[in-house]
């Protein structure tokens, strides 16, 4: 008698074993048994989030005023095109510069230059620009700049330098979705979210920091740094000097590093100037400057993401050495360095450019916020960035993440806008969306606003709620029984792909 169950177990075990083999090594089977690294096969890159899914939908049907007026408008891309005309004008005026005529560097030197220090005169020009966007209240030493091909690589290299696999960084939420990939994927470092909420405009608080820190400790994780984004992406808000001081105090108390990602520093359009963390560190001797590091880039402030210019600014000699050596995996083309050296050295142009984009962003932010307000949609009072952080909680058919995803699909498929849902930023409250307007013309932004208005006035929000819940629950939902609605929402799950894309309302 006893043999039977034993046999069954062994068969079950064999089956289980085989199944596991098949699942785990499935890739191996497909690829002729030559396996890849765990890194290549794992989904730690986090690119399966809706943040990226929306981009794919946009790629299939992009809006164009003339050729595809009903296409999807890309409001998920934080790109700065508000000053492109100025850059174009400058390049036209200086079209002889890229040919190396009259520049200090000869073509031969440029073609061969592959030193990871970067061209000295480019670094000097960049240091000057970094000081300029920080209101000249910060001293930037060109020798403490490590150049990288974009801030993405800058953030990754700093993480490599500060933490070892299994260790963690504290990152206040909501944060840029790319961090999940840039900071974690190859480094093996983890992110512990510091939870922030709408009641105080998502400002970081000491108890939230302390809680996240303790959470890390209870998971036996060694916490090495706190990474802040200032001005914040997705909030479009700068961090106040008081909060910065609090963060620095906290970091000093815990003996951890502070990384400040300041890629939007030049977009601050409020009358209140931007305060870099470097300003606070340099103006007091209370903090160890070797524990504070800044990541910068020309992608956002200068609107040149295609040029791939990033920088790490640190006064920690060990981190400078290690990250400079690692930057050999991420060097900037010398041709591009020469070109930008000329652009950045034109101080008259730079001053005009910065003033113009600030003014334009301010106007856009105001217009967009006003436009939404008119139809009863609230958004954060931002003072920087290329986007608005919009509160659509009232429109959720159920107050949870399913509800947010549903609404996101509706916005994508019905209104024809690709926006980024709060869940992809690890926001703690459902219903928030990041809507970018810096990557389009003012006219296109107004088309987008028009679409939202049309959608709202047609009462489509209610109809969608009804549609997505299936015919049976429709009545209940229409009567406003939120409990039923929520239940219906959850039971339908994220895969309610049966929403019929309808012709867009104009």
């Amino acid at each position: 008698m006893a043999r039977v169950p034993a046999l069954t177990t062994s068969i079950q075990y064999t089956q289980h074993y085989l199944l596991e083999k098949l699942v785990v090594k499935g890739v191996v089977v497909l690829m002729g048994f030559c396996s890849l690294s765990t890194l290549a096969m794992a989904d730690r890159h986090g690119e399966d989030s809706p943040y990226f899914a929306g981009w794919k939908a946009y790629d299939l049907n992009p809006y164009d005023l003339l050729y595809n007026p009903s296409g999807i408008i890309q409001m998920g891309l934080a790109e700065n095109q508000v000053g492109t005309d100025l850059l174009e004008e400058w390049l036209e005026k200086h079209s002889d510069i890229p040919t190396w005529k009259g520049t200090l560097t000869s073509f031969k030197q440029t073609a061969l230059y592959q030193d990871y220090h970067g061209l000295a005169n480019f670094r000097k020009a960049l240091a000057n620009f970094m000081a300029e966007v920080r209101g000249r209240r910060v001293k930037i030493d060109p020798d403490m700049i490590v150049l990288t091909a974009g801030a993405t690589a800058g953030n990754e290299i700093l993480t490599f330098c500060i933490a070892d696999p299994g260790e963690a960084l504290l990152v206040p939420t909501p944060y840029y979705p790319g961090f999940d990939r840039d900071l974690r994927w190859r480094t093996g470092v983890d992110i512990i979210p510091v939870k922030c909420y709408s009641y105080n405009n998502f400002e970081v608080t000491l108890p939230a920091l302390e809680k996240a820190y303790q959470e890390g400790l209870s998971k036996k994780q060694s916490i090495k740094a706190i990474l802040i984004t200032n001005p914040s992406n997705p909030l479009g808000l700068t961090i106040s000097p008081q909060t910065l001081t609090m963060i620095l105090d906290f970091a000093a108390e815990k003996s951890i590093h502070v990384i400040s990602d300041e890629v939007y520093a030049g977009t601050v359009f409020s009358s209140q100037p931007f305060t870099s963390i470097l300003e606070i560190v340099q103006s007091s001797n209370k903090y160890d400057p070797e524990t504070v590091h800044v990541v910068y880039s020309l992608s956002k402030d200068l609107g040149l993401p295609g040029f791939r210019i990033g920088a790490i600014y640190s006064s920690n000699p060990r981190i400078i050495t290690a990250s400079r050596r690692m930057s050999s995996f991420s060097l900037i083309s010398s041709q591009t360095q020469v070109l930008l050296k000329c652009l950045l050295s034109d101080s008259g142009f730079i001053a005009e450019y910065l003033a113009t984009i600030k003014e334009r962003l301010k106007r856009r932010h105001g217009e967009f916020k006003r436009g939404l307000k008119e139809i009863g949609i609230d958004s954060l009072e931002g003072n920087a960035g290329l986007f608005s952080w919009v509160n659509l909680r009232n429109l959720l058919v159920c107050d949870n993440w399913d509800g947010e995803m549903k609404l996101w699909r509706v916005i994508l498929e019905e209104i024809g806008l690709n926006v980024s849902p709060g869940c992809s930023f690890h926001c703690e409250e459902p219903g928030w969306f990041r809507v970018c307007y810096g990557n389009m013309s003012e006219d296109e932004m107004n088309v987008a606003l028009g679409r939202i208005k049309a959608f709202m006035s047609a009462g489509r929000a209610q109809e969608i709620a009804v549609l997505s819940m299936g015919k049976t629950d429709a009545l209940a939902a229409a009567e406003g029984s939120s409990g039923v609605a929520a239940a219906a929402c959850t039971s339908l799950g994220l895969d309610a792909g049966d929403l019929q894309p309808e012709p867009l309302a104009h």
Binding site: S37, T99, A111, G166, Y213, K254, F307, F329, Q335
Partner: protein, 538 residues
């Protein structure tokens, strides 16, 4: 001999803490934690009884454990493995440790804020003569007119022979190529905005075209299998990240390019197993040696994920023939491992021998393509290292998918891509450039090898690359690595020339040196030879 060589070589020390058994410190920390949990409640009991002895013993014990904890904290090397809660006692130890740590830090008594273990190991001073030499030469560079007593740089494989051709082309075409659209209108948004991070499609088509032009048009490259990176350095690192986990290894025939020890190991935690080739068969690769190294690794419990070959070889300058490529593919299939074929010198060939790309073999025969990955770049064959363009060419869709995502950390600048698209599409110019470059390299090779021969120094027969692999074993005393490095030092300090010693390339035989002659002008050759002679005669 094998063992002594690798032990002495500075670059063989592991850059990364590989999977190690838990350090003994861990258990003592656990003991301290457990003891504290016991002792702290005891204090109450002690006070109640008023035991004088216990009252002094316990704080003493506490102090002892406190010291132990601090010591552990300081010496603790972060384990590369994420902590796994394996036993309850370990959990207990960690819990109490973390709580006491936060107490400590609130008093501000924790030591300085540290950087990661990997940053520390990467920031270590350069130990390899390859990097030391490069640094010295860049501090005091030779110039025929401005600094005739400076150090002559023969340690960097850079081709400066045909830059005049590129410069002329750039001067004539650059303005239009960078920001001019197809219709001649200025169009900055084509370069300023976000471009595909793994390279623009037009650029991939242009590079694929250049690759087949350089490799003899018998082979064609599919642009959709290309991933562009900012140089071959990130290309090779990206492939390592895709193919191997930390602690896994690649077999690498020696002598090999010294940079592999950084590029492949630093951040990936991958290890390189040297497979020695010898002068007796012109440093040809033998499958028997590969097999031996593979089996030895397996016995050690190390997982070998692939072979890295450089073809044409750097530093030797020879090429792998078809038969060797076939046997390599058979070996890889038999062992079920990958092949990375670094072909960045494919266009820098001269002489009668034909270069055969791994891609050509795969195209003609029914091999398992998924395991083959090719590295290419424009730094050597187009003499544009400053422009940072590297290529991963893979037949494996999963590798391509992962590499495309990883390319975000090392993208090529868009304006640079625009210029290169124009340049590479000008196939007449490219053809002229390739032919001229080959002639010039050959001329320099012949002149340089002849100069060395006058001094009794022989070079291996080579038909590719930008360097000579010179045998100076007759000049070193004692006949070992020490002797070799002494000669290298003399060449640098007395002769004022920087060459790469074989030991930096993990060569098993002492006395070999790599000399890059494409860094020189023709007039410089007699100067170099004279300088070597000066060292030889002292």
């Amino acid at each position: 001999m094998n063992h002594s060589r690798s032990r002495r070589n500075p670059t063989r020390e592991p850059d990364f803490p590989t999977a190690k058994p838990p350090s003994p410190g861990g258990s003592s920390g656990g003991g301290a934690g457990a003891a504290m949990r016991l002792i702290v409640p005891l204090q109450g009991v002690v006070q109640g009884r008023g035991g004088l002895i216990l009252g002094s013993v316990i704080p003493g014990a506490l102090y002892y454990f406190f010291q132990l904890y601090l010591k552990r904290c300081r010496s603790a090397k972060p384990n590369s493995n994420p902590p796994s809660p394996s036993s309850s006692s370990a959990q207990l130890a960690d819990l109490s440790r973390s709580s006491s740590r936060s107490n400590l830090s609130s008093r501000g008594s924790v030591g300085p804020v540290r950087v990661s273990a990997r940053a520390n190991s990467i920031a270590k001073p350069n130990a390899s003569p390859y990097y030391i030499g490069l640094e010295r030469a860049s501090e005091d560079p030779y110039d025929r007119f401005d600094n005739p007593d400076g150090i002559m740089q023969l340690g960097l494989s850079e081709n400066r022979l045909s830059l005049d051709l590129i410069e002329t082309w750039i001067l004539e075409n650059l303005e239009r190529s960078m920001i001019g659209g197809a219709d001649g209108n200025l169009n900055i948004s084509g370069i300023a905005t976000y471009q595909p991070l793994d390279g623009m499609m037009e650029m991939k088509i242009a590079v694929a075209g250049f690759m087949s032009q350089v490799m003899g048009t018998t082979v064609s490259f599919d642009p959709s299998r290309l991933v562009l990176t900012s140089g071959a350095t990130p290309a090779i690192e990206t492939l390592c990240f895709c193919l191997a986990d930390q602690g896994n290894a690649f077999l690498v025939p020696t002598p090999y390019y010294p940079g592999f020890d950084r590029d492949m190991k630093w951040r990936t935690g991958v290890e390189l197993i040297p497979v020695h080739c010898r002068s007796s068969d012109n440093f040809a690769l033998s499958v028997t040696a590969l097999d031996q190294a593979f089996n030895q690794a397996r016995k050690r419990g190390q997982r070998v994920r692939g072979i890295l070959i450089s073809n044409p070889s750097n530093p030797i300058g020879n090429m792998l023939n078809k038969e060797t490529l076939y046997s390599l593919l058979d070996f890889a299939r038999e062992k079920n491992i990958h092949i990375i074929s670094d072909e960045i010198f494919a266009g820098s060939t001269y002489g009668s021998e034909e270069f055969v790309s791994m891609a050509e073999i795969l195209e003609s025969e029914d091999f398992d393509k998924d395991r083959v990955h090719i590295i290419y770049g424009l730094s050597k064959d187009l003499s544009l290292p400053g422009f940072r363009v590297g290529v991963i060419y893979s037949f494996n869709t999963s590798v391509l998918a992962a590499a495309k995502k990883l390319a975000r950390f090392s993208s090529v600048s868009a304006p640079t891509q625009r210029i290169l698209i124009s340049m590479l599409s000008d196939t007449r110019f490219i053809q002229r450039y390739i032919e001229t470059t080959r002639e010039r390299i050959q001329k320099m090779y012949v002149a340089f090898a002849a100069g060395l021969k006058q001094l009794g120094i022989e070079c291996t027969k080579s038909s590719a690359g930008l360097y000579c692999w010179a045998d100076m074993s007759g000049l070193i005393r004692p006949y070992n690595e020490k002797g070799e490095l002494e000669l290298w030092d003399k060449l640098l300090k007395i002769g004022k020339i920087n060459v790469t010693p074989g030991s930096a390339c993990h060569c098993i035989e002492p006395g070999w040196f790599r000399c890059c002659f494409t860094m020189l002008a023709e007039e410089d050759i007699p100067v170099v030879i004279k300088r070597i002679q000066r060292v030889v005669e002292t």
